[in-house]
């Protein structure tokens, strides 16, 4: 799979070239990001997907300017986000993966602190209203629900009307209704020209929102493009169960691959309509009843799962296969 090419239009807002990030040194060191290239154009919503420990947050932190890259270059709005932090920060908004607000301050007080540290801030009440927290302004942060805290975090990221918005798992912990309204809000911001880079592990979130996306695994971008491009060369799938006495053997289906597991049959095909027509024709001709028949086009979820398992089988050189959750916590933690 190729990675996204840097745009030649020169209107890219985020430009990442051969990014590496290494934590610690020697045997305890960990190479979290291994040569990532990304380009996000102005006004685009770009989603970074990946399994746990794929390097999404490590990549985001470098692009946000929270940490220096070990190797490679990062440009946000044409500048180095780490070295030229003072120039970049007034033009971007960042929402981290978790919290970061004192529990004893109210939502409005939190907003006031951030307004004092943000150039051209919106009125605090307006920012809270945007994320549906207007009625909770006087409530202390520790008394807000997890979802409300995520929305407060989003409100703070939006306070300075940023040109570029970084959202690290924005809808984790939200109930379906709140998630839908966050999506609506993000879409509106995009419609107004805000460039958005978000990480998520909700595939439907990427499918709903993203203009383009990249799937990361083992610190590398495994595939990228529009949703349609990413799933384009993924096969569609037909599954069914044969009756106990089929009376006829399965036909040869052109361009399809048949897998048998007892009576359960899985057919993978690049041409769903043709294969399904052939299959159903065969079934009618021989009077075979296909139980639990299911036919579906390739989805982002299928593509994602396939990529994750393929990549796990052929790990990149000296890269650990998808680290388990505890290992990741320790490794990431060593950089803190």
């Amino acid at each position: 799979m190729e990675t996204s090419q840097p745009s030649r239009s020169g209107d890219s807002v985020i430009e990442v070239t051969d990014l590496h990030r290494h934590y610690g040194t020697g045997a305890t060191g960990y190479h979290a990001v291994r040569g990532v290239d990304l380009t996000v154009r102005r006004g685009e919503l770009f989603a970074l997907l990946g399994t746990n420990g794929a390097g999404k947050t490590s990549t985001m932190e470098v692009i946000e300017g929270l940490a220096a890259p070990t190797g490679g270059t990062v440009r946000v709005l044409g500048r180095d986000p780490f070295r030229e932090r003072a120039d970049v920060r007034p033009r971007i908004g960042i929402m981290l993966q978790e919290g970061g607000f004192p529990g004893e301050l109210t939502a409005a007080e939190t907003g006031r602190v951030w307004a004092g540290m943000t150039s051209g801030a919106r009125p605090v009440a307006e920012a809270l209203e945007l994320v549906g927290l207007g009625h909770r302004a006087g409530v202390r942060v520790k008394q807000l629900s997890g979802g409300e805290r995520r929305r407060l975090d989003l409100a703070m990221a939006l306070l300075g009307r940023p040109e570029v918005l970084f959202l690290d798992e924005p809808s984790t912990g939200l109930d379906p209704e709140a998630r839908a309204s966050v999506w609506r809000l993000v879409r509106e911001l995009r419609a107004q020209g805000t460039t958005v880079l978000l990480t998520t592990h909700y595939l439907e979130e990427a499918e709903e929102l993203a203009d383009r996306l990249a799937i990361m695994h083992g610190g590398q971008v495994v595939t990228s493009g529009t949703v349609a491009e990413v799933i384009a060369d993924r096969p569609s799938r037909i599954t069914f169960e044969l009756p106990e006495f089929a009376g006829a053997s399965l036909p040869v289906l052109a361009g399809a691959e048949i897998g048998l597991d007892g009576r359960k049959v899985t057919v993978q095909t690049v041409s769903l309509q043709d294969t399904l027509t052939d299959l159903l024709g065969w079934a009618r001709h021989h009077g075979v009843v296909l139980g639990a028949l299911d036919a579906r086009s390739a989805s982002l979820e299928e593509a994602f799962l396939a990529i994750a398992s393929e990549a796990a089988h052929q790990s990149p050189p000296q890269a650990p296969a998808a680290p388990s959750r505890p290992a990741r916590r320790r490794l990431i933690g060593s950089a803190r």
Binding site: G100, P102, V113, M117, A121, E126, S181, E188, R336
Partner: protein, 277 residues
């Protein structure tokens, strides 16, 4: 949630260093007022210590007839307030904000690192200075202490003491996991200040060699500068006038600056912005 994102509403002013420090300081002050433990440590503990200080000094005066108990009481009290209200309080504040990931979140904004650290220190500094001024001026008037010999030197000593305390607080926070354990991790430095920097035990009542060692401790020079500026002597020589006090201050200025440099270096080297897991 509302459906439309407003595009043309009023926008706030440009963020400046002063606005950022004030915003952070205000938030931190609100948090201090809402935290009973911290407020107690900041307001009541130093006052309790002053009572202890008075009885300790009175006992020492019995075996050292020349000891000026009143002067040392006021001076020691000012020192203890700075130690508790600034050093201890600020260590706990850094650890608390780090644990809540507040420091990490603040670093995603426009504030520079040094502004985040100083902004968090604003209420501790303000409260410490206010209490020190209250006790210093009130004590001087009430106990009829002499007018300071060299106020400029006192100011230099005060600034040096505060800067060293902030750097030490940042450094101590690196070795403190929870707010609760700040009481233990700050104890060594607090004890050194109480016993070794001439606050509880004046250096002149110590054996000469011990006193010489104590003069080299991190916080001794700053406190001794305040004392020389105030009384014209650190107790090791007869009191001098304004000009003479500069001579007496020379060595303390050098050791104090060296310690400040080391404390800042240590803070930069070891301070971390988010919890280690």
């Amino acid at each position: 949630m509302t459906t439309a994102v407003p595009t043309a509403t009023t926008a706030g002013p440009r963020s400046t260093t002063v606005r950022r420090l004030l915003a952070l300081g205000r938030a931190e002050a609100t948090l201090l007022v809402r935290n009973r433990t911290a407020l107690f440590t900041a307001l009541v503990l130093p006052l309790l210590l002053i009572v202890t200080l008075h009885s300790t000094l009175s006992k020492e005066a019995e075996s050292n007839p020349g000891l000026d108990v009143d002067s040392l009481l006021v001076y020691g009290a000012v020192g203890m307030i700075l130690a508790f209200v600034v050093y201890y309080n600020l260590t706990a504040a850094y650890v608390g904000r780090r644990g809540e990931l507040v420091l990490k979140r603040l670093r995603t904004g426009e504030a520079r690192d040094i502004e985040i650290l100083l902004g968090t220190a604003v209420p501790s500094l303000a409260l410490g200075l206010m209490m020190a001024a209250l006790i210093g001026i009130g004590g001087s008037l009430g106990l009829h202490l002499a007018v300071p010999v060299n106020p400029l030197l006192m100011l230099i000593g005060l600034v040096l003491a505060l800067a060293t305390m902030i750097a030490l607080a940042a450094l101590s926070s690196a070795f403190t996991k929870t707010v609760e354990s700040a009481g233990i991790t700050t104890l060594p430095a607090i004890l050194v200040m109480q016993l070794g920097s001439g606050l509880f035990v004046p250096l002149e009542v110590m054996p000469t060699q011990l006193a010489d060692i104590c003069r080299l401790l991190p916080t001794t020079p700053a406190f001794q500068l305040i004392r020389i500026g105030w009384f014209g002597t650190d107790g090791s020589a007869p009191a001098t006038d304004f000009l003479g006090s500069w001579g007496a201050a020379g060595s303390h200025l050098i050791t104090g600056a060296v310690w400040l440099g080391l404390a800042v270096w240590g803070a930069v080297r070891y301070f971390h912005w988010e919890p280690r897991r």
